[in-house]
Each structure stands twice: as C-alpha cells, then as structure tokens.
Symmetry: C2
Subunit: 475 residues, 2 copies
C-alpha cells in the first residue's frame, strides 16, 4: 500500500485535512494501536533530534543540568499544590494495578513534573550554597485528551521541562525571561518561525503559576499556536513541599521556582507555518536531509560517480545529504522529496556532466537554477543560508500583516474569524475575556512585551483600558 506520490488535499480546500495528509505522507508520524498516541517515525523524530541538539547546547551553556525523574507520581504527592491538581486532574492517566495487585496510592502518569521536582528539591536543597538549582529533563508526558491531532495535541508528547530553584524572586523572574529568550532565538535561528512574546492573562496561565510567559506563532490558516511557555511560581510550591534553605543571614527561607518547556508541538508549527500544497517545506537547519541528490539518466557513464563525488564532498563539509540512487524515476523522486520538504535538490545528468554543471532546485520558492560545479559546498552553504532567511522573512511578513489593531468587538470578530491576531486594548477583566471566548471562540494569546497603547477604552465593556492584548483562535 504505497501512499507516496499521491496528491494531498490543498491548504485552501481543507487546512486540517492538508495538515494530517502532510504528517502522514511526509512520513513524520503514524497512528498507533493506542487511541490518541502517535508513532514518531524516523523522519519526524529526526526533526525533534535537531531541536534537542540545539536546545540542549543552549541549556548547558546557561548552566543547566539534565536529570531524569520518574514517569509516575503518587496521587497523594500530586495533590499537595491545590491549583496545580485542579488544572491537571481532568486529563490524568492513572495506573492502579502493579504486579497483579491493586496500588494503594495510585500512580498518575506524569502530565508534568513540578511535584516530583519539588519533592526531590526538598531533599537536596539545604543551604544557600545549593542554589540555584538549574535542572532540565527530556521526557514524554501524558495528557488524556479527548480530541487529538498529530504533534499539536496528543495523549503523549515528547518535550523538555526545565525546573529551577532560586534564592531570590528577582533571579527566578529573570530565569523565566532568559529561557523565553532562548526559545525565541531558536525560532529565529533554527525553525525560521517568528514568535510574538508576551505574558499570559490570569485566565490562560499555567495551573499553579503566578505568571506564565509564552511564544506564540501564527499558522497559515490564521490560527495561533502556543509554541513554548515559561512559568514563574514564586515560592508557593516551595512552601507546600517544605523546601527550605539556610541563608547567609542565618534565616530559614523558601526558594523561588520556575519551570519552562517546549514540545514536539514545534514540529506542528514548522509544518503549518512553512508547508505548501506540495507538502512539507523544512527550514534548512532543522531538516534531517538538507540536500537530496537525484541523478538523471543514472546509467550513463560518469553520472552516478559524479553524484557520489558531490555527496561525499557535502557530507565531509558537514551537511546532511542523501543520494537517491534507487531505481525509481527522477519524477517520482522529485515529488517524494518535495513532499518531505528537503530544502535543496541537486540534479546531475549527462549534459550537466559535460558542462561541469548541475541544476539546483530550492524547495521554498520552487526555483530551479543552473550552477557551475565548482566549490559545491560553499554554494550549498550560501543557498541554505538564503533559504533560511527567505523562509523566516516570509513568515515574519505574514505574521506582521496579520496582527491587526481592532477598536470594536465587530472588528475583533472579523480578524479572528479570517486571518490572525486581533490586537486590542483591554481593561484587564476576565469577564471581557470570557465574553470574547464565548462569542468568537478566540482566546487571549498574550499581553505582548511590546506595549504601545492605541486606545483608552476596552471595546467590550467600555471601561478604561490597561493593556494591549492579542486575541486569536488557537490550536
């Protein structure tokens, strides 16, 4: 059952269908026998590995250490912080039987690990010398979701979760902003995805957090995708879990806490920001295959040898390269690697050989250009950099064009229904937020860091406006 090379639904016809078509046909994922749980296939998992490599380096550079904590949490432990348990309880998967026996203190498969980290910290933090603790964990978490969508919302997803403890409130707050900055930079450097950075409203923040910050991306269909969050907890969990340290001044204190995470959702973001009707379009630095080489008339003398020579030169220069010398037709290969979003395709045939040339196809704009075959690795380096810049700029242009100032509810409704972010002056009352949600299904995505006031009244209630806030429908 070969599902390759069949056309996919177009984005304009049915964006949701287009999305799952791409996920399946680019072989990023497959559905498993367990409802809601997906299989991360090699091509999808390799994208996640590139994200991991990038972030792991950044985390270590900033002094973070990796750890691994259990995948289950005692129900009794989970209940220690009230807001937290209320937020997560409805979507918990719970293990009740172990080795054939009923488990007394039932085990929740981790939906997030704040409780476990806090319990651990209560044992290892004793003195101001033990602070800060800057831990990160690469793992999967489970949320029992009713409706799921590959990478965007699933019963299990892969992620990193940072959990840190600090002596001062100020240092903890700075940590949440520092990590948000790292996520934002990853968008710019690796994913070619521009984000809006901001703070979540009270209604939208993480269960148990005092403040939540997020990076929000804009998908092709005008919906927002929350792509990463950082949380400041104050010392609430710290007190609930009895984490105490002896400070320099001889006093016993509770440290201040943060947590932050991104997940395989980022893959969804890449797909929906960059993809087109031919399939995936991968930003060069996150692409598992950056260059595919397709030999034309492979059996003519010298063609395959030349293709291999190019491959070896590019691999030696550090690029991720695939030479497809299978017996499939060049046309089949072209559409296969276009579906998979490979940034560059190099075609080498007998004619090119004679002229010491090759044709190079850029996936992002579909251009096909003849180049001389001198110094191919410098050429590829430049082309990948160009593609990255073009993709980032196109996404940024789209984002900026679809953030629209609104002054009335009707304007807001039109924007969130059609194209993107409605930028509104807001009184700060949750009642107005609730009303918008009820009438339009849009939510407050964030209170952007960039606060330039443009109105003095909240268009919903008419009261004095306090913040610029962005509303959008979201995944």
């Amino acid at each position: 059952m070969d599902i390759k090379n069949k056309s996919i639904t177009s984005r304009d016809e049915d964006f949701a269908r287009w999305y799952t078509d791409v996920c399946k046909k680019a072989e990023l994922m497959d559905y498993s026998a367990v409802k809601g749980f997906i299989i991360y296939r090699p091509y999808g998992y390799a994208i996640w590995e590139e994200i991991q490599h990038y972030l792991d380096k950044e985390f270590k550079k900033t002094g973070h250490e990796n750890v691994y904590l259990p995948l289950v949490i005692n129900e009794s432990l989970f209940q220690k912080e009230k807001d937290h348990v209320e937020g997560f309880a409805p979507e918990c998967l719970i293990a009740t039987i172990g080795g054939g026996q009923e488990i007394q203190d039932r085990l929740i498969i981790r939906p997030t690990s704040e409780c476990l980290f806090c319990e651990h910290y209560s044992h290892i933090i004793n003195s101001y010398r033990d602070l800060p603790k800057l831990y990160n964990q690469w793992c999967s978490v489970v949320r029992w979701e009713k409706t799921t969508r590959p990478f965007l919302r699933g019963s299990e997803f892969l992620r990193q979760e940072g959990h840190t403890m600090h002596a001062s409130e100020d240092e903890a707050r700075q940590e949440t902003l520092r990590m948000l900055e790292i996520y934002d930079k990853m968008g710019k450097d690796l994913l070619a995805v521009p984000f809006v950075k901001g703070r979540k409203t009270e209604k939208e923040k993480f269960a148990g957090a005092l403040e939540t910050y997020s990076i929000e991306a804009l998908m092709h269909d005008g919906k927002a995708l929350q792509s990463g969050t950082t949380h400041y907890f104050g010392n609430g969990f710290s007190k609930a879990f009895g984490i105490q340290y002896l400070d320099k001044d001889g006093k016993i204190k509770n440290p201040y806490q943060t947590s932050w995470g991104v997940s395989t959702r980022l893959i969804g973001s890449i797909i929906m920001v960059h993809g087109d009707d031919n399939g995936l379009v991968l930003p060069p630095y996150v692409a598992p295959i950056q260059v595919v080489i397709v030999p034309i008339k492979m059996n003519e003398p010298g063609v395959l040898a030349k293709a291999k020579e190019i491959r070896d030169e590019l691999i030696n220069a550090g690029f991720r390269v695939k030479l497809d010398d299978s017996d499939k037709t060049p046309g089949w290969k072209f559409s296969e690697y276009e579906m998979k979003g490979v940034p560059l395709r190099i075609e080498v045939g007998p004619k090119d050989l004679a002229n010491n040339c090759c044709m190079i196809h850029k996936r992002n704009d579909g251009t096909r250009t003849k180049y001389e075959l001198n110094n191919i690795s410098d050429l590829v380096k430049d082309l990948l950099a160009t593609i990255h810049k073009e993709m980032y700029n196109a996404a940024l242009k789209n984002l900026l064009a679809n953030i629209k100032e609104v002054h009335t509810f009707e304007e807001l409704k039109e924007v969130v229904d059609k194209c993107g972010y409605a930028k509104m002056m807001w009184c700060g009352d949750q009642a107005c937020e609730d009303k918008i949600k009820e009438l339009t299904n849009a939510t407050a995505r964030c209170i952007p860091f960039d606060q330039v006031e443009f109105d003095d009244k909240c268009p919903i209630c008419g009261k004095k406006a306090k913040y610029v806030v962005l509303f959008a429908k979201a995944y």
Copy 2:
C-alpha cells in the same frame, strides 16, 4: 544535611551497602517519593548521556534510525504473542483510568516494545523494498519489581531498544551478532569493562525469542551482571501480527525479527567493576568530569589565574574539565572528587607556579606525580589513555582469573559461592540447570562463543556433555 565527605562502608565489609553508599554519595541517584522508582541525578544522568552518544553514533553508522513509540500498550495487543505475555504479565504496571473514566482495553505501561513495533511494522512493511527496517528507540520501560536496587533492578529504567525486521533468517541472525559486537566494543572502548559473550540457555532466554545472546560482566564481589542482550525471534511475532511483504519472487512472506537493548544497568556495571573503598572510579571516556583542577592556596597571587589558564586550555582541547574554586578546603575537594571517581586531579599551588609544575593524581591507582606544565593537553590525553588501558586490563585480569573450570558439583558450588564463573561441561538438559539453581542459586549465564571442551560428562547427571556453559550467581 551534608552527606558528602563521610566515609562509606568498605567493599569487604558489606558489598551491597558499599554499592548503595556510592550511588548516593557520588550523587548518581536519589530515591524518589514513588517506591522503586529512582531519580537519575545530573552526575548519574551525564554518564548515561555519554553512553547514549557513543551508541547512537554506532547505531547510525550501521544504518539504524531512531523512532519513538507510545509508552502504553493495549492489553489486547500485548496478548498476541503467548510466550511473550506470559513472561511479562507478572510485572506489568497497568493504567485503568483515563480522564476520570474507566479504560475498556486497559493500558500496560511498556515493559518492552516488541508488540508496538510489530503492530507498526504490519502497516509500513509491504514490499521487499521496505526491508530491512532498522529502528531504535531511546526510552524508559517499567517493570513492577518487588525488590529494587539502583541501576540494577528498578521499576523504571532508561534504555535503548532496537527492533529490526529482515527479509532473511540469515540476515536477522547476523544482526543479533552485529549488535552484540557493538555492545562488546562499547565495553572495551568506553566503559573499560570486559564482557563474556555467549548464547543464553533455553531457560534463560527472553520471553518469545528463539535465541538470546548476552554480554556478561563480572562484579568485584564475584557476581555476574547481564549487561546487554540481543534476541532473534524468527518470524513468530511476524506471523502473530500479520506482518507480510511481497517478495521479488512474487510470494507473500513474513519477515524475520530481532531486538536488542542495553540500559542504565551499565552504570551499575561501571560502579561494581571499577569502584573502590574511596568511592566511584570512572573510566575516562565515560566520565562526565575527566579532569578536576584544585587550586592550592588559592588566594596567593597567580594561583587562580594559572588554574583558569589550564582549565581553558583543556576545555579548548575538548576535555570535560571542572575547576573547583569554591571556598572549601583542598582536602575536602580531594575526597569529594575521589568519591565521584574523577579520573585525573590537577593540583596547582604557589610552589608549582614558581617551578612551572603541577601535581597530578590518578584516581584509578592513587598515584600522585609532579609534571612540568608544558603542553598540558597532550599530557592529559596520554594520561587518560593510560588510565583507560590500566582499568580495562585490571578488569580483564580479574575476569579471567575468576572463570574456573569445574569438574564436579562441589567444585561448581565453591566457585559460585566464592568468586565468579564456574565453567562447566553441560549435557544441555534443563533439569541439571534447575538443580544447580536450586542448590546454589547460581544460573547459567551463557554458553560462551568460545567453546573449548575440557570434559566429556555433565558433572550433574553424568550424561554426555554437549556445551561449555558458565554458571554464576547474578544480579
């Protein structure tokens, strides 16, 4: 509560206690709030990361791809292969509640993933062109164990599991041997742990496998530790899960399967092969910190500057280095990093500065030598290579000295009670294996590849001997 710098139990006094002391005091792990589940602390997790980097590279070099499959398996799916489910059923952790509702087809937290891989393979393998499939997964698995011990036997442990499918029996069999070879080489190159390679007896093989191979190490107390296994399944699962492909000859066939894995058990092996009464002794290439620099009389002019200069030079040369410039005493630092098993300690004080010298302490043999400070990175490179070789050779010598040929049951009992592997000629009947287990608690570790017959009768039953087999008590 500072547990550092307190002495640990000696190995001869109580080896089991010594082991857990080292695990805790070298800060490799901690116990979590969930019984049987441990916390992999930064220093312990970093060792696992080095093992991952080594193996991931080897796996990719041999054409394997990483994937990620769900952490839960439907009970109905798990029951498809009879021997397999019988082997694992007693130690399953089962989730029965999701989002507040009872789950109809209960979910087993993966104890191993053969069933999930087979189910996935049944969807993606259709033609001989789809073979071989060479997948690997980095994950944790759960086995509900009654008695647990850090890294050796735990309710959850980290591991990799390879799952492959092949067109021919021969290719699949070769895969199991190829991967065993990679594990063995890792022992030699990275862990400085020599293994005995061999085939498991029928009694000891993996649930559902036709053949299991293993690498077996010898701990300081004379017990064996199974450190990695590879399994050949034939096409049993393949048939049970309906995995079929159309071969070149136009016939529908079932592919042949293997699986193979190593886990954080390897950390236990490192501890118990190399450790001593001062704590951990880490082989240089797997050590998270390869060199610690301890400045002596840190406040005297030039000392700290010199220490930093050495650190920077070594970091630039690619070593993992820590300069401890905290206000703790040098003596405290010495025993701290000895406990943590750091291979090399460089001491720099005012006197050394004047002579352009430094003292270097080798953790593995406790020697302390003065060296000139010229070309420190070449010196460190050589010393680390020497340490690795010394550690491997010492472990190999110990292994070989404790494999003893036995000709009677009494000899066997003496060997397994005192020191290590009893090498016996065996009739091949499980009855004799069972009898040995019953009377000595030793098990057949493997039928070593190296078969040099030295007797013609099985000492247990007196029947004709068929194989050389190694018996030992094991973790």
